[in-house]
């Protein structure tokens, strides 16, 4: 699964995306645990970041599986 970072999260992680290959589908918490393990600097953003799965906002109970495109979206500011 590919995890995309946007806006200030690119600065926090130093990259635009990272590929994860979890052995089984991840919950929100599981995904965050895997990401914080790699990028501790994301911790301060966690409360404000929304997750998207395959270009749609992910429901709290959503599972993230191999092959999904996941995006970490900090608060938006378009318009």
């Amino acid at each position: 699964m590919r995890i995309l970072f946007f806006a200030q999260l690119k600065d926090a992680t130093g990259c635009e995306f990272v590929d994860l290959a979890p052995p089984s589908p991840l919950t929100h918490d599981g995904l965050w645990a895997a990401l914080l393990d790699k990028f501790p600097a994301l911790a301060v953003h966690r409360s404000s970041v929304r997750l998207a799965r395959n270009c749609e906002y992910a429901a709290p109970e959503a599972m993230f599986s191999l092959g999904d495109e996941v995006a970490l979206l900090p608060p938006v500011s378009g318009g």
Partner: protein, 545 residues
Amino acid sequence: MKIEVQLTRCPIAEQISPLSPDDGHGALVEFRGIVRPEENGKAIAALEYEAYDEMAVREMRRLLQSLAASRPCLTARVIHRVGVVPAGDTAVYVGITSFHRAEAIALLGEFLDRLKQDVPIWKRRAQPAADAPNLKNDPLAPKPRPGPPSLDEAMAEIRARCQSLPALRVPLAEAFGRVLRETVCAPEDLPPFDRSARDGYAVLSGDPAKVFQVVDTLHAADWKPRLLASGEAVRVATGTALPCGHLRVVMQENVERSGDRIRVLKEERATNVRLRGEDVKAGQPLVHEGVRLNAGALALLATAGCSQPLASPRPRVAHFTTGDELVPPHHAPGPGQIRDSNSSLIRGLLQGFPCDLQQTHLSEDFESAWRQLNPNQLGQMDLILVSGGASVGDKDFTRPLLERLSFQIVFAQVNVRPGKPLIFGINGARVAFGLPGNPLSHFVCFHFAVALALARLAGETLPAFLRAPLADKLDDEPCPRETLWPARLEWSKGAPFLRPLAWASSGDLTCLAAANALIHLSPNQGSLAPDTVVDFLPALGILSS
């Protein structure tokens, strides 16, 4: 409601073509969000916007659709600019039409509120006013170059700028040739149960008996679990689900049957059993994201129960031919005229990429040609191809045409032979090419540029150059440009060889019927001896022609 949503890296035009002029609307409400010259009390020269393009477009579309349920309007158009936007420029344009003003005004207000809450677009950083000269820091803005890009540079630009179109779920019957946009894993073990690989008799795998009692007969679709005892056999057919584990199947050719008894005449080493999960275990990837779906991949998806794969859409392609000298193939050309071959060439080449194609011949006069176009309809196109008019002659209007359609020209030449005057433009997620009019240039530009863009639009994992030896001498004068030389990949004694084809000029059509590959020659390469191993780009149909 008709919805048009676009992200663009180009300035949003002052005048925007009318929204559905004939839909009978009584109100048109337009809004422009302008970048202010100050941010947090400091003077700024520009703001940089970033977007999660694919999701932003989807989310805007979804918002408009859901708002339209309570605010019935006729059309909505949203254009959001991304990249570096100078102060004073439009960052977002919204236009809405409706029968009466109230719905359009309400929809506009609600949409803008939701845009600022839910659409993944960000103001990244402001450029202070003192930095105004650095305004062109947009990383994707065209970079000044000393000369035309090399083949590699041109392909890198196309790769970087063409974005994949939003995927959709399609029935398997409509999925052939589309690109799979999700990795599909096996939902269960394949085969899902131990099954017989032969017509014969299932017995315990370690049973030393020579004579067995046939206790049951199972057919292909039967599911009758039972434990076998020593000396018992079950009649099975190829593909039958075996009644329990630890069995082997004795082929019927190797037994003698009388009544309910069989006698084994010949012992076999093979168990003749296909074990559950021996092809694939549950959860293993079967078909990977980015693969163009062929018959075998579709069969595999069907086996996995993936009846609505997430796949690339059919891009909408507009192809325009230009040139007053062209007549249709069924006409006899008059003096100075030739038959149009490029329409057939492009139509044929696009068969490799499922798409919805519209072909139109344009007048050679710019203003007349402009009047022939329907900008609204063109706004729906994912890819615009213009044949001819790519050079810089008086009547070569492809570039001005694309510019008037708000395309940003990334390059207007590539340092390659043939096909140098290739134009590549981009407008948000939309892509345009001006193809040099000569058919051989068309063929070459299609394969290194248009096919690449189509692969990117579809989200295909891209093939690279391949390598093979030359069958014959390649006879060439050294040329300062890189060359893509038409060739035919052939099999000789079971191994592939490339036969270079003779071509007199970029107008030479005669080699196209045989060409299925393009050999890459470095600048100033000159002739090459037989058996030299060369890089080549496979052309469409390389394995079928």
